[in-house]
Amino acid sequence: MTIVTDHRLSTAQGAGSASLEADPDGRASDFFALLKPRVMSLVVFTGLVGLVLAPGDLNPIIGFTALLCIAVGAGASGALNMWYDADIDARMSRTQSRPIPSGRVSAGDAKAFGIVLSVASVLTMGLLVNVLSAALLAFTIFFYVVVYTMYLKRRTPQNIVIGGLSGALPPVIGWAAVTGTVSIESLSLCALIFVWTPPHFWALSLVKAADYGAVGVPMMPNVAGPESTRRQILAYAVLLAPLGLAPTLLGFAGLVYGVAAGLLGLVFVALSVRLYLKRDDRAAMQLFGYSILYLFLLFALLLVGRLAGLP
């Protein structure tokens, strides 16, 4: 741990020497970028679906507040992730233009920003919505920042498997905001995202393996090899396809959703088989792109199905 921390600090100082000497005055847009807005939008969307599907009524203003807290909490996690990972971000082409490695925001400012927003989002959720959703939000932030970012990411190829729990919890938080409970229905949505995460990330890491290898992050292709990664992607896809049917089987989504989820799951498996057989970057990127579409469509179908009263 000491070695990793020392290395992190020395590299961050090297990458952002300007930030330490000149105390950069990040613009509002730089701080907004620290919130990882693209990730935040997916988190808000799945949280919204959990909120809409939950039985019971919630005043729209309180519902909006719950979503805002989820969004700010997710953004705060992103800022703290960028603070801690500034050293490896500076050495990867995909991330070196982020606010800290590019010297637009100092590491200290990013850390303070993340901590303040984390505390504010959890307290606001607890005071204005309910205690359970606030506790779940606090656990999600803790799991992403401490368990995933600080511990798992640099130590094990199972990093995104276990760490994926933090990305899977927003529908549970949304559901808890309405009902004040955690139920089998919300946990099924959580399981869906949890099982979706490994094939989604591993498809990308097959293509970016060299980048991850150069900075010492033990992604599955670097540790177990591409062949094993493709096999594991296929295994997760086979597990994911029936999990997509859970909302219909548990009775909180209709037949239209069930049929669509079945077909979308089959396409996911087919693209995973194709990646396993073809073994090229193009097939990996196609699966990566499709995985985003798959999750978006499933949750959009759940949302539309409930709002439009589809069978």
Partner: protein, 42 residues
């Protein structure tokens, strides 16, 4: 009494200070609205 002129640092930080101010106002408005909802039994 002389007024201290706005420094270069203040100018550079203007956009982020405005954003921070707006965020704080929005937070107060949300707390106010939710308080109204809760008081009225919503």
């Amino acid at each position: 009494m002389s007024v201290m002129p706005i420094s270069e640092m203040h100018r550079r930080r203007r956009s982020r200070n405005i954003a921070l101010g707006l965020a704080l106002v929005a937070w107060v408005v949300i707390i106010f609205l939710v308080s109204l909802v809760k008081v009225s039994g919503g």
